[in-house]
């Protein structure tokens, strides 16, 4: 027993954590590193850093020549940002109504939303596709936004409601005594107060939307409405022999998510630790 405890000295802990960090980062770094190499360099010694001799940007040239990549990227951005904005706004409104007001049926509505957290929206795909065909929305970004909003709302409502419950009563009562309207209370007092929770919800909702392959594949596989995830999948399929292009497109696809995560990460941890996710 004592031996194990001695073994858990900071040094050992660092070694263990560092080893796992290497496992987590190595594949990504390997790809990024090789995307800057010539074809010869990639195959001759895949584990070497690019040197003056093997350095090459030919892969990136190839990818950026494909003008479609820019479209795919823009599509993903539009879908993610629109869906996120609607999830946060509608989710916060519903969470406020459910957590603040007592009315008949509130429990039922809560249960209905809770159901959506547990049961994946994918199982309704058959019927969603029928609906989108009926509404003439196939191959549009609108279809994706609608589905992602429906997918993201349940978790958003739950996390935000939990947060809103912690807001002190006095604040709201004071506003009501001054006969401030319910809408003003929500938009001007409550929304600014739950900013950390909103960041948490934003990150949790953003990842599955940006990375989803299923719905783009089914609802909008057309050339002009492909998202970057689907686009990269097909682009790589076309160029499996052109390793430069494959590695560069993979590297480019990694960047935006990492950027967005770094923006939100501080808020994310604060949101989780202060009880947003329980």
């Amino acid at each position: 027993m004592k031996k194990i405890q001695q073994a858990l000295q900071p040094f050992t802990v660092h070694v263990i954590l560092l080893s796992y960090t290497v496992i987590a980062l190595f594949p990504v770094l390997l790809v990024i590193m090789n995307s800057f190499k010539s074809k010869r360099g990639i195959f001759k010694d895949p584990l070497a850093l690019p040197t003056a001799k093997t350095f090459s940007l030919v892969g990136y040239q190839k990818v950026l020549e494909e003008s479609a990549v820019v479209t795919f990227f823009a599509n993903s951005m539009i879908v993610t940002v629109c869906a996120l904005a609607l999830i946060l706004l509608f989710g916060a409104m519903a969470a406020w109504a459910l957590s603040e007001y007592r009315f008949r049926g509130a429990r039922l509505l809560y249960f209905l939303m809770g159901f959506g957290i547990m049961v994946p929206i994918r199982l309704g795909t058959v019927s969603i596709l029928n609906t989108m065909v009926a509404l003439d929305l196939t191959n549009t970004l609108t279809a994706l936004v609608l589905v992602y909003v429906a997918q993201g709302l349940p978790l958003a409502v739950f996390i935000l409601a939990e947060f809103m419950n912690q807001i002190p009563k006095d604040l709201k009562e004071a506003a009501r005594c001054d006969s401030v309207s319910e809408f003003k209370i929500f938009f001007q007092i409550i929304l600014p107060l739950i900013r950390p929770a909103i960041a948490t919800v934003a990150v949790f909702s953003m990842i599955p939307i940006w990375n989803d392959l299923w719905f783009p594949l089914i609802l909008s596989p057309g050339e002009s409405t492909q998202t970057i995830t689907l686009g990269v999948q097909q682009f790589i399929g076309q160029y499996t022999t052109n390793w430069n292009a494959v590695l560069s497109s993979l590297s480019l696809a990694v960047l935006p998510v990492v950027g967005l995560y770094l923006i939100f990460s501080k808020q994310l941890i604060r949101g989780i630790t202060s009880g947003a996710v329980k």
Partner: protein, 308 residues
């Protein structure tokens, strides 16, 4: 006479309407409609007629279909087992080390380990396909550093090893989520509790197993159920790694998700069917619901939640 008119609280429906309309139209109703569609058959002109349990009968009696379904279910169960046995224990260890050992640089470790979770499955699938590819030889070279090159094989392509390999890739990608949830739960335990244990002479390991671990059981339960739902709904990784919903070598990595896609849209020579797709989706719904219900009835009720 003073009359106090209680006005109808219009603001409540206005707050609720947008969320519930979109959720209802594009999530709840489609789900119910999918269950309904599983009781219909479609003829060549797309005309539907009620057929009772005919689809289910076909699924369980047709030799090919039944074999595919049971295979997918069994593969999915093993996929879930591997995730539970590897992903969550490793996540717990990493989170415990970060939360309990007083060390610097936790933010860096946390961010790095969470990074793969952010990546698209498409990227993850291809990265690992490249690394494990015998053509490129990265995996083989690295194993030769520790003298294990003889053990290297085309793991993703072999029927016996494909599922374990894909499961481990999935673990690699998603370990960040359970890790961060467990980590948050661990640092949420008030210091007084741990100080009291320390003063009473409890050593770190004992404190961990007898105080911290029991306190985070609810979080471990949440992680289990999230893993379950996520695994029984998985599709993307298989689709990327095996370039389509074919199910891998000899269908050895055919999950319910890929089977669903195949029956709905067809694959290679197989023709897709809306109503059979709905039938498979309905069965997945029953399985997931059964799992979630079992969790809430048998496990969650026995867990105590602590308010600090």
């Amino acid at each position: 006479m003073i009359m106090i008119l209680k006005r109808f609280p219009w603001h409540i429906p206005i707050f609720l309407a947008p969320a519930f309309c979109i959720y209802g139209l594009f999530s709840a109703i489609p789900l119910i409609d999918t269950l309904r569609l599983s009781f219909f058959v479609e003829d060549a002109h797309g005309v539907r007629s009620f057929s009772g349990l005919q689809n289910y009968g076909f699924l369980f009696r047709d030799p090919i279909m039944a074999q595919e379904f049971w295979n997918a279910l069994w593969v999915n169960c093993r996929f879930f087992m591997i995730n539970m046995l590897v992903q969550n224990p490793v996540a717990l260890i990493l989170a415990a080390l970060m939360a309990t050992a007083k060390i610097k640089g936790v933010v860096i470790y946390r961010t790095a380990i969470f990074l793969p979770t952010l990546l698209s499955v498409v990227i993850v699938g291809f990265i690992w396909k490249l690394i494990l590819s015998p053509v490129w030889g990265v995996g083989e070279t690295m194993m030769s550093w520790v003298g294990l090159e003889a053990w290297f094989g085309p793991w993703l392509g072999q029927q016996e090893t494909a599922l374990v390999t894909v499961s481990l890739i999935s673990v690699w990608q998603y370990i960040g989520l359970p890790m961060i949830l467990i980590y948050a739960a661990l640092i949420g335990i008030p210091d007084e509790l741990l100080d009291a244990a320390y003063v009473d002479g409890s050593r770190p390991l004992r404190t961990f197993f007898q105080i911290q671990l029991p306190l985070i059981y609810p979080t471990l339960g949440l992680v289990t159920i999230l893993t379950f739902v996520g695994n029984f709904n998985a599709f993307d990784l298989m689709y990327t790694v095996y370039s389509g919903a074919g199910g891998g070598p000899e269908k050895s990595v055919d999950l319910l998700g890929t089977l669903f896609y195949r029956t709905f849209f067809g694959f290679a020579s197989q023709i897709g069917s809306t109503t059979m797709g709905a039938t498979v989706a309905s069965l997945m719904f029953v399985i997931i619901l059964a799992g979630v219900a079992a969790y809430f009835f048998f496990i969650q009720r026995r867990l105590l939640r602590f308010q600090y």
